[in-house]
Point group: C2
Chain length 762, copies 2
């Protein structure tokens, strides 16, 4: 196979930029004293045989977070945030943290305490035991960032010569990229190397202890994870690479192909020979140290910079020979083993690469392909060539100075990151733009190893995939189990009432008006004392007026106008007093019941109303409207009016235990309180809720029932079903202000995936 020369135009960077990347981030679980966590990999993170996102690497306490590929670093960051949060929520319960450095800060004195991952896959288990034996256990504790990149196939296709084989051509593009990366990666090591220190007992089986206690990156040095120096693998062509690797395994120099630890790995299903026929799918760049300052191990800016660095290598002359690659390897070790404050080993070579990057950055900026200025970013990194103290390892050296301070900095950062991970526990970090119900479903899916693809974030529409079993979910609980007609029946209050009435479910008496005039005329026939006027189709309580006694014609007409503003059909129905409960029904079963009460505080005999509001608002479940399960109570006009009516003010000090309402309405969006009542309600009401849901053909819905006393059995006179909601507010049950949290998101997944054994400990 003759090498084909190819050259991308600078303008191609526009499409090349759409190349997809993916991040794998490794980290050690540790205790608050810095020692290795001895707990097993938690079942809360799913079954490791079916878990694409959260894995164990070498050690049982060595986590690996894997993001799905994306051309958007925003998305990569989203995923890293979510995965860290999910793991950290379990860690928090176990008193554990994530170690923020590539090199371990505290290696167990007894090396037997370094446990290989307890995998059920015996081949994988034995492989790890071999590695521990041959390379030493210490080196297995190293953690890094793997950066995967798949070149946009459209760009490769565009340059594939007429008549040439696409796979062959694509392999050549990837091979050149791999060679040039091997040749020039030392520049990234200079800039981003971040492993200058390690526990002083650290040693490898092949190279012993590092020759100096401080270097730019111990992990990337010979004292990191390196194969035996006798293993020589050619990169001159893919064929040569495959042949050499097969020979190394044949001669038992390597136990398996994947034991080859090089900083670039060609990715495709094993064995490597398939690369030639099926083509390289993407490249895995494995040299990156974890940035201890970044909660997720890498800053988004660096992901972007690395992407440009890698793509720029396509524009640099091919380091075609193994001699060139050996030189690159030499530079790499020297850079890694150099003192953090020393200058680059070959500044003119670095400047050459930066010049290529800068030209491409200009084009990226012209097309606004980076949210900031890529030129400015390149220049900023370029300046570091003359400022080693501002490189990552330089900064770390400035802070730590001596290895003795290494552990304490690591612990400080670990604690700080943990606080980031566990903030806003009800949300899914990175996915905050979704409705809370969708966040809950995604979180549960990730925990159980169900692959999640966002189809349309704005519409809360996601795709799930578990071993090829695909499902779609919208708004956190609409699935293929819900029928379209049921949705329309619930959306339409007239239809709902007709159907419930026929199913012998009590609904408020009433009638509907198709025109304002019809409604106005009806006033003279009005016999109801207390009644509600509401638009036919509404799911948000808009346009509703409640009259507790017969209104004047004027007020009646205003209520009609109010309702007709929302819909062209309006209902008038009897108003029943009592407690209104929301029944969450799924699959013919009441799963949760909640009561909503108006915004309120309870006196302690010392604090003012104002202080009590502040204390109530400190509840981590409270936040801004629609962004948290509960909403901050305001100190606005409506609240003042109600206080005033009760003879109180913000400065009043209520008695201990005194309940002070701040609102009349019980909407969560105005500070209302949700209280779980699932285990307190008489079973007869659950039967009514289920009957209503079944009559409407609903797989899931929220049934609102008003009743005099929920502890007393339902009779034919003491309840009314007000409506059934096809899009009930899940967070009422998931994160009630008072009472037990109900795992609604998990219930949705349980219905979709009966083949998965769901973990119910959270």
């Amino acid at each position: 196979m003759a090498k084909q020369t190819f050259s991308f135009n600078q303008a191609d960077i526009v499409t090349l930029w759409a190349s997809t990347i993916g991040i794998e981030r490794e980290t050690l679980r540790i205790n608050h004293d810095g020692s290795s966590a001895q707990t097993p990999h938690s079942p809360e993170w799913g079954d490791r045989n079916h878990q694409p996102y959260i894995q164990t690497d070498f050690g049982e306490n060595q986590l690996e977070f894997i993001t799905p590929p994306s051309s958007s670093t925003d998305e990569i960051l989203q995923w890293l945030a979510a995965l860290h949060q999910i793991v950290a929520q379990t860690n928090e319960k176990q008193g554990e943290l994530l170690w923020p450095f590539s090199m371990p800060g505290k290696i167990p004195t007894n090396r037997d305490d370094i446990k290989v991952a307890q995998l059920t896959n015996q081949t994988e288990l034995h492989y790890r035991e071999h590695l521990a034996d041959y390379y030493g256990k210490d080196v297995q504790l190293l953690s890094g960032i793997h950066y995967n990149l798949k070149i946009n196939p459209a760009t490769i296709e565009k340059h594939c010569p007429a008549g040439a084989d696409y796979i062959e051509f694509s392999n050549q593009v990837y091979s050149k990229l791999a060679r040039n990366f091997m040749r020039y990666r030392w520049i990234l090591t200079y800039l981003l190397g971040a492993a200058p220190f390690v526990d002083e007992s650290y040693a490898t089986n092949l190279y012993g202890k590092p020759h100096t206690p401080i270097m730019r990156s111990i992990r990337q040095s010979r004292y990191g994870y390196q194969n035996h120096p006798s293993i020589q693998i050619s990169y001159e062509s893919l064929e040569a690479f495959v042949n050499d690797l097969e020979a190394a395994v044949e001669s038992k120099a390597l136990s398996v192909e994947k034991e080859l630890y090089r900083d670039v790995r060609f990715r495709r299903a094993q064995p490597v020979r398939q690369l030639i026929e099926q083509g390289i799918n993407y490249l895995e760049f494995r040299n990156f140290d974890i940035n201890p300052f970044a909660p997720y191990g890498i800053w988004q800016e660096d992901m972007e910079f690395i992407r440009l660095f890698i793509l720029s290598l396509l524009y640099i002359e091919d380091a075609a020979t193994d001699e060139a690659i050996d030189l690159g390897q030499d530079y790499q070790f020297k850079t890694a083993e150099d003192h953090p404050l020393n200058p680059p080993i070959n500044i003119s070579e670095a400047e050459m690469v930066f010049a290529v990057m800068r030209e491409l950055a200009v084009i990226l900026d012209e097309h606004q392909l980076y949210k900031g200025s890529m030129v400015a970013l390149v220049d900023k990194k370029g300046r570091l060539l003359n400022q080693p103290e501002l490189t990552l390892s330089g900064q770390l050296f400035e802070i730590v100075q001596t290895p003795d301070n290494f552990l304490s900095l690591g612990m400080e950062l670990a604690e700080e990151h943990q606080r980031t991970y566990i903030a806003h526990p009800y949300s899914l970090h990175g996915f905050e733009s979704f409705e809370l119900s969708t966040q809950d479903v995604i979180k549960e899916a990730i925990r159980h190893g169900i692959e999640v693809t966002v189809i349309d974030a704005k519409e809360n529409l996601i795709k799930l995939d578990y071993d090829g079993h695909v499902e779609f979910v919208k708004n956190g609980n609409m699935t293929r189990h819900d029928s379209l007609i049921s949705y329309f029946l619930m959306e339409n209050k007239i239809a709902t009432k007709v159907i419930l009435d026929e199913a012998a479910v009590r609904v408020p008496a009433g009638l509907s008006f198709n025109t304002f005039e019809e409604g106005r005329t009806y006033y003279s026939q009005l016999t109801l004392d207390a009644f509600v006027i509401k638009p036919k189709n509404t799911n948000y309580g808009l346009g509703i007026t409640i009259f507790e006694e017969k209104p004047t014609l004027d007020r009646y007409v205003k209520a009609l106008e109010f309702a007709f503003a929302e819909d062209d059909t309006v209902l008038l129905e009897a108003f029943a007093k009592g407690t209104e409960l929301r029944f969450y029904v799924q699959e013919g079963e009441v799963k949760a019941i909640v009561e909503r009460q108006p915004a309120q505080v309870i006196g302690d005999g010392q604090s003012t109303v104002s202080q009590l509001i502040d204390q109530t608002n400190a509840d981590p479940l409270r936040g801004k409207k629609h962004l948290a399960p509960l909403t901050f109570i305001e100190k606005g006009e409506a609240e003042m009016a109600l206080l005033d009516a009760a003879g109180l003010s913000l400065e009043s000090i209520p008695d201990s235990g005194q309940l002070v309402y701040l609102r009349r309405n019980s909407n969560i969006s105005t500070g209302g309180l949700s209280i779980d009542r699932t285990d307190e309600v008489n079973a007869s009401y659950k039967f009514i809720a289920v009957t209503a849901a079944n009559a409407l053909g609903a797989n899931f819905c929220g049934v609102d029932i008003i009743m005099e006393d929920y502890s007393v059995a339902a009779s034919n006179t003491n309840y009314h079903v007000i409506e059934a909601n096809f899009n009930p507010m899940i967070t009422l049950h998931r994160y009630p202000g008072v009472g037990k949290q109900r795992p609604v998101g998990r219930w949705v997944l349980e219905q979709l995936y009966p083949e998965i054994e769901f973990n119910t400990t959270f």
Copy 2:
């Protein structure tokens, strides 16, 4: 059981007015020469054992139309219109009409040609044979209107004395009403009797030939359908009635209870003794002659007048004794047998009843419970007491004068009514406010005896019930078989594309913009030559711009603005040229395919373009926008511009066979033409459409595929799936402008009701 006296307040008429009524209308199928139709009851009207709407009465050619009960005469009229249309569409194919009079115009010389209904129910068959034998066959040809009325239970409840038994009280209310009706119905006979003539050979077994060839109502006279005069049944109490009726059957004076032909029948499941315990459900008033001028046998005004007349009887002193009822019977026969131009038999009694009606009418008008003025209607009818020539029979006498003219008037009216019945065949008469697709489903449901209840007319939401099997349908084809998530996936063009792409279905390349700015910026990266800009969620083609070559930035920006006006996410995708076909997929099968072409006419070498347009618009399938399967072609600016571009004008005379387009776009709403292609398309495209529908989890949908040549097999390059519609326009397939009509409504029902054997002859 002591009789309880009760009195309703005049104000009660407001709630009494909400009493429900139902109409049963009988009619004979005849040939165009007036002779009895000899064809069997058509299977197109469903299985008579499961057909609540269309039945046979006595004779095989004697139809009975039965409306569901309603308090709205608008609805009653809707149903009558629909039932007449459905029957008349079959009659039209068979060369038959509906005889418009109660009395037959042409009795078969050979009485054996009067065939009793060929029912599979042997009891019913034998009963009819007994009747023919005992009463004579001629009398079995009589047709009438039965008027059912159920008093609003709320009004009865309101007056039920505390501690009294509701059923007992209700029965007393109904009994009084029945008695007073028997006592005063002669007034209605005077006003609405409409059976002055009959075929001269007519005779009954009990009374022989009428004593005079002309009387107000032969049907309501002794020469109508009357029991033997020896049968005496008391109406003084319900118990007496039941006892007498049971005795009459016991003594074989009557073969079964229902053989009692009185003008009021107490309704409830048989046997009559159940009336006492279970209560009278409603009353059936059976005396009304068919109004030959009314296409549906009765004018809406008369339904309303009769309702008031009946309800007024509740306000008149109880005709408590059998003597009083006998007097009523005497008045009734005398009125029926009187000459049409004679005055009322007891004008002061009639005026007394009218005075009660008028007082109630005043209240009805105050509450606007009648769409016109009820007082004016009462006064209009009241004037007839002094103008017998304006009563129905009076008018008929004025027109016909001698019995010899009776048949020809009947035939004239029958032909005229038939033209009414068969107009606008694509619609369902009475249900024109629904979408055509819903009209189609309702029509098919009625034909097959599936009960239809309109849940929400505005939303095209109906309920179906076949022997207790309930289904709901919205928009003519959304049912419980359609999943909610599938609806959202199709509604969302981004989701559709992602999913189809993964299912290896070719979709146009493209991308989406979440902001206008994002879209504007993309212009510099634009590489597509021909492309479409469209909003993410649209089902109506709004906001779409097609560029066949790269536009200027200005035009590009305008297209973006246009699309962003419809949605906050906009798609840009490659535009493929070719023929766009709509595939209607249901249950994993392509059921129909249609092509849409722009508005067009074809020259005949003689007519001008203007005349050709007029001829095209004469197609019965064309009508106003959205109200007919095809839309009138206009002679507006857009049409003129296109003619002009082709060097033509409205006055040009195209060559014979010359195709002249009047529009560029192929929308049906601008005169476009739909052409059925179901049997012409290469099967490979059907496979693609089904694959697309399956990937989206769609039970039914309309898949739009654009292709170069639909007769050639699909390859990986010659087609694109443009979108999948969850609410496809059914009439494209049901009533295409060219080609075979596809029964989409029936397909929907076939899926819902596998237990029904559907008739496929229409």
